[in-house]
Amino acid sequence: MSTGKRILLYITLTVSGLVMVFPILYAFLISFMQGGELLQGSFWPESFSLVNYAAAFERVPLLMYLWNSLLVSVLIMAGQLILCSLAAFAFVFIEFRGREWIFYLFISTMMIPWEATMVPNFQTVQSLGWLNSYAGLSIPFFAMAFGTFLLRQQFKTIPKELYEASQIAGISKLRFFTGVVLPVAKTTMTTLAIYSFLTAWNMYLWPLLVTNNEANRTVQIGLKQMQTQEIASDWGVVMAGVMIVILPTLILLFAGQKRLQEGLTQGALK
């Protein structure tokens, strides 16, 4: 590559990179600004004081919301990992009549938009007494076809002979599953865990439907609450809230970016 071309490439990359992250960067800077600075239209805060962050925690019970979000996300992540890996194991190693049929059933779940089912789901959760509960926020999302397919792809790389030998040696299927399959699939499990956590943390519509008190509200709904309460007056505080909400997922994304990219591409195309 010629030097001229390289410089041109770097310029294009920098410009498009800055355009893409600009909204996030700008929000970060605003989170340190006071009302007056915003009205003047400054781009750089006068000082990097944490007043707005402290205010964000005071105006809404942000700490409680963060805790709720963390708990719900971890629950969903764990639930999905367990259910998906169990199902994927059956699809790869246990041969039985009707398995193919069940596999098509799993594929068909991907064609049902979740939003089309939200009314009866709300009624179900209501009749189970799960409104405003961690169970209602997490359990409906435990089963996931995409995760199952992703793990199935990974499990398929384990030689079948290994499984047959273990069967002859009288090792139980569950032992083989926990002792051999899961350790081999550690990387893919991690990828799936990152993806699950990201998606769960960022969920919006379902928590909006099934929570109406502060004790169980997640942080995303907390943002909506902040935005509607303080909209005109305190953008600095609102943006501080935004920063607090996106920090965990951004860290997770940057740490797991490469893995996520490989995992998602693999799951998408095979």
């Binding site: 490439l9 990359l13 893409m20 199902a87 789901n121 409906p140 439907l209 943006m239 951004l250």
Partner: protein, 307 residues
């Protein structure tokens, strides 16, 4: 019974027993997923179809069977026509732009350069952003008095625009924000697709003296087509399912210009308590997603180049 027959019978019995035990364990491993799919996906889908044929009470209890009346009423209501139009326009505005932008960024970031990791991180950043956080940020950018866009317009001596309050601009504004939100995920997948392309293809092209533009057209895009196809489908289906940015930015307004289908379902079911109508719309949403999926599969089978 002869000896041989006896042996065969006992073998068969053993085989049967093993088949049976395999069936039981198989089902047992699949049961948690099947149970949840049943309760939270298949049952509510069937129930939605059922409810769409009824007049319902405000609690969502079916009262009178009305057949297709809910659907007929929908097709005749201006509100639903506006919602269908908003959804179609939203898809049109966001899907091609998101895929194009993400593809351009992915091609750009698929270079062996020093520090490329930093740029990849920047391009994928929106994947970590929740719809709520992104919407709040864009709400500020669109703010008529202190937002960035009107400041730029003011600097150019152009009068400001009521981005989210003007029916002419609201859907476009929400779409711009959505394109930005979509890019991270699409970029990440497309970059993965690019990196899976066999590098020897490029080496041969280089030896043959094929130009960069030609390489892009003849190698990169055809080899990337399965990934492009997947990303387009996912973005399209996501567009049909849009809710959060509408709820936070416009609440379906102004004058229902951004009242996309899922927001309309939400409003009918949980604000107007008209569950029958909401269910009919949900059935139509399901049908739309199904048709898109099937069409994409049919086209995909024919046109997309698979390795």
């Amino acid at each position: 019974m002869t000896m041989a027959q006896e042996v065969r019978a006992s073998d068969e019995k053993k085989l049967r027993k093993r088949e049976w035990s395999n069936f039981l364990t198989g089902i047992l491993f699949l049961l948690p997923s099947l149970l949840l799919f049943g309760v939270f996906l298949f049952y509510p889908m069937v129930r939605t179809v059922y409810l769409s044929l009824f007049l319902t009470s405000s609690q969502g209890v079916p009262i009178v069977f009305v057949g297709w009346d809910n659907f007929f009423a929908l097709f005749q209501s201006t509100s639903f026509q506006l919602s269908a139009k908003a959804t179609a326009l939203f898809v049109l505005y966001t899907v091609p732009a998101s895929v194009l932008l993400a593809t351009a960024l992915a091609v750009l970031a698929n270079q062996k350069l020093k520090g490329i990791g930093l740029f990849r991180t920047m391009f994928s950043a929106t994947m970590g952003m929740s719809v709520a956080a992104s919407s709040v940020i864009w709400m500020f950018l669109f703010n008529p008095s202190i937002g960035l866009f009107n400041r730029i317009l003011a600097a150019l001596n152009i009068p400001g625009i009521q981005w989210l309050l003007d029916p002419q601009y609201a859907l476009l504004s929400v779409s711009i924000a959505t394109i930005w939100m979509n890019t991270g995920f699409a970029f990440l997948i497309l970059l993965g697709g690019l990196q899976n392309i066999d590098s020897s293809l490029y080496e041969s092209a280089k030896i043959a003296g094929v130009s960069d533009a030609c390489q892009l057209r003849k190698i990169t895009l055809p080899m990337l087509s399965p990934t492009l196809f997947f990303v387009t489908t996912v973005t399209l289906i996501n567009a049909f399912q849009t809710f959060g940015q509408i709820d936070l930015l416009t609440k379906g307004g102004p004058m229902e210009s951004t009242n996309v289908i899922v927001y309309s379902i939400y409003k009918d079911a949980f604000i107007n308590y008209n569950v029958g109508s909401a269910s009919a719309q949900a059935v139509l949403l399901f049908a739309a997603v199904l048709i898109v999926t099937v069409i994409q599969f049919k086209i995909g089978e024919r046109k997309v180049h698979y390795q």
